[in-house]
Amino acid sequence: MSIKLNALFSDSYVDVSQYRDQHFKGNRYEQEKLLKQSNTLYVGNLSFYTTEEQVYELFSKSGDVKRIIIGLDKVKKTACGFCFVEYYTRADAENAMRFVNGTRLDDRIIRTDWDAGFKEGRQYGRGKSGGQVRDEYRQDYDPARGGYGKVVARPQSIRTTT
């Protein structure tokens, strides 16, 4: 009675993605192990104006939230469009991956991904200007994420950037 029919009952929303944190202290194997047992999710594509309260309300729908850490611009120390959500249990985090990932918060489709675990310093954007890397280089205008990407806002930097 122990056949699981793996061919049929996939649970792909819970799979670990291709992303690996380049600043992770440890090797690939260690990072993957942590990702597979993590209770913490990275949440991306948030509006800069989305509050901790809104994140709590939405992510509480898949289980009790242990804590939320709002991502900050390293320079301005204001929200820069991402956060971490930590649950008490992995099962609750998995349900968030299945049912919250890819739905809207503050009218934006948000994206969740497994995170190896919050460490002090990881709440800051890693882009040169202080925000997230993706906001450095994007070409579109997004009023909820500071308007144009930094590279558009400073045209000279296109020529000097490596």
Binding site: M1, I3, L5, N6, A7, L8, F9, S10, D11, S12, Y13, V14, N27, R28, Y29, E32, K33, T51, E52, E53, Q54, Y56, E57, L58, K61, S62, D64, R67, I68, I69, I70, N95, R98, F99, V100, T103, R104, L105, D106, D107
Partner: protein, 796 residues
């Protein structure tokens, strides 16, 4: 499924080892894949795919018989929506290889015994249904199937067994008849008539105490909410009247009739239902959810009537699809929308009805609530021209019937609706609901709209809500979530404790130590205390007020700020709330300051419990206290109470698990000792020490479990006591005043009591003895006692 060839994971980062001779495993995977996928969209017809697959499997039988048997048994158990596809396949195999057919039937019977033993009643049901359809495929002889059904129905003659036991066996027989009724009646009509008469007699005499508690609507109009066995019986009777003509089920075996009728059939071995034991946990009864009938789908195919067997089969299949694919919403939505035979039925209506039926199922939905929200969004994406309209229609209908909707279901409806709206820019025709504006605020409709808007605000912000509703709705807009600070400005300087509040505030801002702050607080007079009674170490409500108001005011900016504050001053808070009155007062202060921000109250109470500044019983007492009476019917109050009960339950489970693990460890250790049997004294001493440590740990954990269980029991007792007090008071007052007791408040309150039983029925089962002896005695008003009796009927 990906096969990990480069498994650096397992080797700890070392060089990978190539797997040699993996062919047998690959073939087995292929077999699994072929079998699982047959019946899905294909360029060839289903019949030719089945024919082809039967040929492949027949050829593989010599080498892979056991694997094929196991896969087929598994799909019989786990893929009920493809029942007839697989019975046809087994039929074809049996026609080619009689022995294999026999072995398959034996394997199925073994599996049936195992699932029953393991309390897997739903899977057992699918197995029996599969066996019954095998009669149609000439694999099983009809008389032996009838004999099995007779054995099942004879369970109704058993004495001193729970009604839910005989219910299940009757349900299994009835729910197989749409597939096999015709064939069985053709071969054994006398026996089948006798069977159905027995069932009829049973259904007439069984108790229906549980029904009111499980109905989504209490009204009989427009659609009666029927008990599930009653509904199925009506459907089967109609089917019988129609001479068992059933046209909805897809039956691939009909195309193979010439081949199959040549096959030799097997007899089912006599099957005795396993005896009842106290460990058996039968499925709880259900009420069939109906929101649509044929008048609601005006264009296109007609919706089968509520007592037609087509309705039953369609709903069964849709439920099964959700059961198979709930974890993958895109697949689930696609599978639902590609339901075979969808052109003959108003599929969108069926899908919406089945989904809401699950969401509103009492006691609990089969899956987590948020899944249904996301599934409906996926369905809207796949059918943007038709599904949103059906969904809007259903929402409108449910709004119209709020007056008689069960409070628990209203909770789920407003959670779903607000979350759904947040994915569609909160667009809704609010003006259509303008009728609620003329009603009293405590009536279900305006209450519903108010709570929806509050939930919508939590997912957005106050101004957004102001913008999305017409100005006429302003009375229902939630309050702005601002903080109320008692000691705000000079105008309040006359308040006792004002001066200390200012000092404490400055001290906190200047990062004073806990000792310094406690010293400052010593100056707060105690309004409760007699002069020179003691050193002022007792409960001082003003001290709590001054400190907590000021602290929370400074930390009001966000959840994180407030949590930080609670953590930083944990010591002080613990000291101030050492007694029960202290705990109650801290909760009162939290409410006072954050009464416009229920979400904040919720998260703060959660933190206060988790950091053990207050206990669960304190929260329950606070919510039931006269101070909170005016909030008693608000949704957030019940969110807090249920969250508190859940925390308590999880806490008990956690310690129980720790105890189990420690016991297992000890057992393993002692087992190992026996095997090693070292004769050196040192080894003996060491292992004795280890044993001693573990035994001590187990003893401590045992105490912890007992203490936690006692706390849990006490929590439920507190809650039930409070309910009984409140309801009795209300009933007595109404009786003496000759007023109708059934006010909106009463309906809300009694249904909240029901909700406690329903949402935590598994835990509460343990305490039934105490509840009956202490609280739910015969002297209680029968309205309140009825709720308890309905709860007991869930496992009777």
């Amino acid at each position: 499924m990906s096969r990990r060839r480069h498994s650096d994971g397992d080797d700890g980062g070392q060089s990978h080892k190539r797997r040699r001779t993996s062919e047998p495993i690959e073939i087995e995977d292929r077999l699994e894949s072929l079998i699982c996928r047959v019946g899905e969209k294909s360029t060839s017809s289903l019949e030719s795919n089945l024919e082809g697959l039967a040929g492949v499997l027949e050829a593989d039988l010599p080498n892979y018989k056991n694997k094929i048997l196991r896969i087929l048994c598994a799909v019989a158990r786990l893929l009920p929506e493809k029942l007839t596809v697989y019975t046809t396949l087994v039929g074809l195999l049996n026609a080619r290889n009689y022995n294999f057919g026999g072995e398959f039937v034996e394997a199925m019977i073994r599996q049936l015994k195992e699932t029953l033993k393991a309390n897997l009643y739903t899977e057992a049901l699918y197995l029996v249904r599969f066996l019954s359809d095998l009669v149609n495929c000439h694999v099983i002889a009809a008389p032996s199937m009838v004999a099995m059904f007779e054995n099942f129905v004879s369970v109704t003659q058993e004495e001193d067994v729970p009604q839910v036991r005989s219910d299940w066996f009757v349900y299994v027989v009835l729910s197989s008849l749409p597939w096999v009724g015709k064939e069985l009646y053709e071969k054994k009509d006398v026996e089948m008539d006798r069977l159905l008469n027995q069932i009829d007699g049973y259904l007439k005499r069984r108790l229906k105490t549980h029904v009111p508690m499980l109905q989504v609507w209490t009204a009989e109009k427009p659609h009666p909410q029927e008990e599930y066995l009653d509904c199925l019986w009506a459907q089967i009777q109609k089917l019988k009247k129609d001479r068992w003509q059933e046209r909805h089920i897809l039956r691939p075996y009909i195309a193979f009739d010439s081949v199959l009728c040549e096959a030799l059939q097997h007899n089912l071995p006599p099957f005795t239902p396993p005896a009842h034991t106290p460990d058996c946990q039968y499925p709880v009864p259900r009420v069939v959810f109906r929101v649509f009938d044929y008048t609601d789908a005006p264009e296109g195919p007609v919706m089968p009537g509520s007592h037609s067997v087509e309705r039953f089969v369609i709903e069964e299949n849709l439920h099964n699809i959700i059961k198979s694919h709930w974890k993958e919403r895109k697949t689930c939505a696609a599978q639902l929308l590609s339901y075979p035979g969808k052109n003959k039925i108003p599929l969108n209506y069926h899908i919406v009805e089945v989904i809401f039926g699950e969401l509103f199922q009492l006691p609990c939905p089969p899956h987590i609530d948020v899944m249904y929200t996301t599934l409906l969004i996926e369905l809207c994406k796949l059918q943007p021209g038709s599904l949103p309209q059906v969904l809007a229609q259903a929402t409108e209908m449910m709004y119209m019937r709020l007056d008689t909707m069960n409070t628990t279901c209203i909770d789920r409806l407003l959670n779903w609706f607000s979350h759904h709206l947040s994915n569609f820019q909160f667009r809704w025709s609010w003006d259509d609901w303008a009728d609620c504006l003329a009603m009293d605020a405590d009536k279900p409709k305006p209450k519903f709209v108010k709570e929806v808007l509050e939930k919508c605000m939590r997912l957005s912000y106050h101004q957004r809500i102001v913008d999305i509703v017409p100005p006429t709705f302003s009375a229902l807009i939630p309050a702005e979530p601002i903080f109320f600070y008692k000691y705000q400005d000079e105008a309040n300087s006359a308040l006792p404790g004002y001066a200390v509040a200012i000092t404490v505030g400055n001290a906190i801002k200047n990062r004073a130590s806990n000792e310094e702050i406690l010293t400052v607080l010593k100056d707060v007079p105690n309004p409760n205390q007699e002069d020179d009674d003691d050193e002022g170490e007792g409960f001082n409500p003003l001290k709590i007020e001054v400190f907590l108001q000021t602290l929370l005011h400074l930390a009001a900016k966000s959840f994180s700020h407030s949590f930080s504050a609670l953590a930083k001053f944990h010591e002080i808070l613990k000291a101030l709330t050492d007694c029960d009155e202290g705990k109650l007062h801290i909760l009162r202060v939290v409410y006072e300051v954050w009464r416009n921000h229920p979400q904040m109250i919720s998260v703060l109470v959660d933190k206060l419990i988790r950091t053990q500044i207050v206990d669960c019983a304190a929260v329950a007492n606070w919510l039931f206290s006269p101070n909170m009476a005016h909030e008693f019917t608000r949704f957030y109050v019940w969110e807090i109470l249920h969250s508190t009960i859940r925390k308590m339950n999880k806490h008990v489970q956690k310690i129980q698990k720790e105890l189990e693990e420690a016991k297992e460890k000890l057992e393993k250790q002692q087992h190992k000792k026996q095997k090693d049997s070292g004769d050196e004294e040192d080894m003996e001493r060491n292992s004795e020490d280890e044993d001693g440590q573990l035994e001590e740990q187990i003893e401590r954990l045992q105490e912890k479990v007992e203490s936690a269980q006692s706390e849990q029991k006490n929590l439920f007792l507190v809650i039930f006591q409070r309910f009984i007090m409140m309801l009795t008071e209300h009933l007595v007052r109404c009786e003496t005043g000759s007023v109708d007791f059934n006010t909106p408040w009463y309906k809300n309150c009694i249904e909240r009591l029901q909700q406690i039983f329903l949402m935590h029925h598994v835990t509460i089962q343990q305490y039934v003895g105490t509840l009956e002896n202490l609280l739910f005695t015969a002297e209680l008003d029968h309205h309140i006692l009825a709720v308890y009796q309905q709860f007991c009927a869930l496992q009777l």
